[in-house]
Structure formats: C-alpha cells, structure tokens
C-alpha cells in the first residue's frame, strides 16, 4: 500500500484532528459559559454559531481544493493534517515545494515515492508553520495589555472608534487590493511557452466584490426597514453566496475574452 496514505498515516491524521476538535469544542464551551455569566442573550450566541457555520462552508471547500492540489505529490493525508493545523494554501505549497526541491529533483505534480524525501517534507512543513504556537504563549498577554493601554490613552470615544474602524479597513483593504489587482505572474514551461498563472484578478473579481457589497447593503437596509431579525443575522453569508453565484454565472455567460480577462500582463518568471 502507498505509504503516504496507509493506515499508519491515517491514524496520525485522526489523532491530530481529534486534538483540533477537542481544543475547538473546549474554547466554544468556555466562551458560551462566559457569555452567560456576563448576561449575553442566548439568541445572540446561537446566531453567531449559525452565521459562522454558513460563513465557513465555501472557504472550507476552497481549503479542500488546496489539499487536492498538494495530493499528487504528498498523498491526501499529510496535506489534510497540515491544512487542519495552522496551515494555509500559500505557506504549505511554498514549504512543500522548497522541501522537495532541496532533497530531490521532483516537484508538486509528481508523487513522492521515497520515504526519506517524504520525511524531509513532513519536517519542513511542520517547522515552517509552527512558530506562532511557540511565540503566542510567550508574548500575547503582554502584547494585548500594551495595545489596550494605548487604546485607552487615546481618550476621545469618537477618535478611538474611528481608529478601531480604520484598523479594520486597513486590514480588509489589503485583501481587497490583492483580490482586485492579483499577482500577474506566469511560468515559462520547458518547451519555451509561457503559461499564465490565472489568479482571477480581473473583471470577475471586481464584479464579485461589487455584487457582494451591493447585496450586503441592500439586505441590511431591507432587514432594518422591515425589521427582519434573521435577515440581519444572515445578510453576510447570503451576500457571499450570491456574489459567488454571480461569479459562476458571469464566467459562463460572458464571452471568454472577458470572463478570463486579467488587468495586468503577467511577468515571465
């Protein structure tokens, strides 16, 4: 049997997943208990759970896609473990590629058949991502105390509100800019042809963003005017689904040249 997906690897995967679920359930129960202690309404916490479930489904499927992308070289179990703990698409792909290239002539598209290479990849992927688990216990408490102090020193409530909102907007802006402008890279293949690394940043990304914003604002307005509580709670996940539906519809309805249009000519790497 393929060592990358045998019973031993499966048991390792299940152990890791069990710990992840245990920690998540532990924190969930603690937070709900705390919410009750400080008098928060049960309905608010229940809505948070339901909204978070809806909000998570599609990005989680996108993460499954990352597992699939790494599976040809690493099998399904190691990417599954790595994407369940700390991991994210950029980091895991980069770590796996660097490790494979460091000890073999393979790449992410070809299966690793050498256990030694596989063990190097497993070590590199683990060590590349685990720094926060060591740093957080050492510094998070002090960091948050310092930040709270700085915020309370700001004084004026309007200013502190605006500064907090500005921090959110700066952060969200970084992702929106990336989604709108993309990377614009390409890879030169062995036969000399240039293959564009399509990252979706073009007409479709702008349209998806605008649909999400407009639908969200319309639903919020509607919920507020007609006093529809459930709509207020689920406006965000609904807007996200509608925007992604719009992306699918536009991709299939628009002429190919528009649907796959990207703003920038790729740079040949």
């Amino acid at each position: 049997m393929d060592f990358r997906e045998d019973t031993f690897m499966l048991i390792l995967g299940l152990i890791v997943i069990a710990f992840i679920l245990a920690q998540s359930i532990f924190f969930l129960v603690k937070a709900i208990r705390r919410g009750k202690e400080i008098g928060m309404a049960g309905s608010v916490m229940k809505n948070t759970v339901v909204q978070s479930i809806l909000f998570t489904i599609t990005p989680a499927l996108a993460i499954v896609a990352t597992v699939v992308a790494l599976a040809p070289a690493l099998g399904i179990i190691l990417p599954w473990i790595r994407l369940s703990v700390i991991g994210n698409i950029t980091q895991e792909t980069a770590a796996a590629t660097a490790a494979i290239e460091a000890v073999s002539s393979g790449n992410l598209a070809t299966p690793i058949t050498d256990k030694h290479v596989f063990s190097v990849v497993a070590w590199v992927m683990t060590l590349a991502s685990s720094l926060p688990l060591v740093v957080l216990p050492l510094c998070l408490k002090r960091l948050q105390k310092g930040m709270n102090k700085a915020m309370s020193k700001a004084g004026d409530a309007k200013l502190t509100d605006s500064l907090a909102a500005a921090a959110f907007i700066g952060l969200i802006g970084a992702f929106i800019a990336r989604a709108l402008a993309g990377k614009g890279t390409a890879t030169q293949l062995a036969d000399g042809t240039v293959q564009m690394n399509y990252d979706g940043a073009g007409i479709l990304s702008v349209a998806t963003l605008l649909v999400a914003i407009v639908v969200m604002l319309l639903l919020s307005k509607l919920a507020e005017k007609k006093n529809i509580g459930w709509l207020q709670n689920f406006a965000m996940p609904i807007s996200m689904f509608v925007a992604m539906g719009a992306a699918i519809a536009l991709f299939h309805l628009l002429p190919e040249s528009l649907a796959t249009f990207e703003f920038r000519a790729p740079v040949v790497s």
Binding site: G13, A31, S52, T58, I63, L131, L209, I248
Partner: protein, 220 residues
Amino acid sequence: MKKERTYTDRMHRTGSIWSIVMFLVLLGVPVAFSAFYNIWPTFGEVWSGLWPVAMLFYPTAIIEIIAYSPLLGTGGMYLSFTTGNISNLKLPCALAAMDTANVKSNSEEGEVITTIAVATSAIVTTVIMAVFVLLLRPWIPKLTDPSSFFAPAFKQVMPALFGALGASYFSKHWKISILPILILTLIVAINGTVAVGVLIPVGVVISILGALLFYKLGWL
C-alpha cells in the same frame, strides 16, 4: 491575599497550554513517521528546505500576531493560530460575527463572540475536510477542477468574502475607507508579488494615519 484571575487571564493560561500541546502533537507527525520507518533526515536536509520559507514566513507570522491580536481577542487568537487559515477564514468570520452581534473587539462581549465564531468555524472546517478526505475523495476533483462548473466561484472566494464583510464598514466609515484602499491597490498594481502579510501592516498604518488626519481636520 491571592489575586483573583480574570477571564482573560484564565484564557491566556489555557490558550498557552493548548498551544504547547498542539505544538507537540504537530511535531509528533514527522517524529512518528521518522521513528516508524526509522528514517531520520539530517539537520542539513531539513534546514536547506526550511530556511527559504522561514525567512519569509517567520517574520510574517510575527506581523500577523501583532495585526490580528486586537481583532481576534484572547481565545480567538490562540484558537486561530492553532487551526490556521486565519486571513481567508477565521478573521473574516470573527469580524462578521462581531459586526452582526454589534459588539466591539476590545470588549468582553467581543471576546465571547470572536471565540465562538473562530471555534465554530474551526469545527466546521475540520469536519468538512475530514468528510471530503475520508468519504468524498473521488468527488473533490469534480468540484475543484479548473474545468468544473463551480471553479470560477472558488477563484473568487476572497472578493466575495471581503466584499460582504467590508460593505458595512465602508458604508459607515466611507470617508476613511477611500485612502487606504486606493493606496493599497496602487501598491499591488505596481508590484503584484507583495505578500498580504506585508500589505496588512502597511494598510493598517495608512488607514490609521488617514483617520488621525481627518480627525485633526474635523472631517470625521
């Protein structure tokens, strides 16, 4: 007299213990594999694969800890950094939950809501991944293949997610939204390879400076 621990203190303590436990569990995977097959890579082999990514990801991890810390709260931070996929899932999920529940990130209610949101999101992600990996594996390529009917949606997860999330912030604070988004888009347009980990602190600093300037000018 012994000082009574606050909820946040207790969360720091439990969070730290869980982080260390998860670090050991995580490290256990390559250790168990190497021990089981009696194949131990040399330090040099691991280092040659590790250093190029560590040079990039270790500083990014530190920046992310600083940038996300005021937004995710104590419980949310420990859990997010264990379960990963923060920027593309846990953070927007927590921000959306706070916005809907109408609570602030540095309040006790915000702490509860972010922890519930991140924990729920982590459980759902773990279950979805386990179901697909263990049971629905043959179906995955049909969903995610570039030629699949649904593929365009997977490419547009981020604009859909951050558009829905940003809408209420942009409409409430439109005056301070324009400057950071404009400058960030310009930066990415000039150099597309700038990592999100670098863009975030730049965006936060520009946005805060812009808000301070507007406040001084009396435009807020």
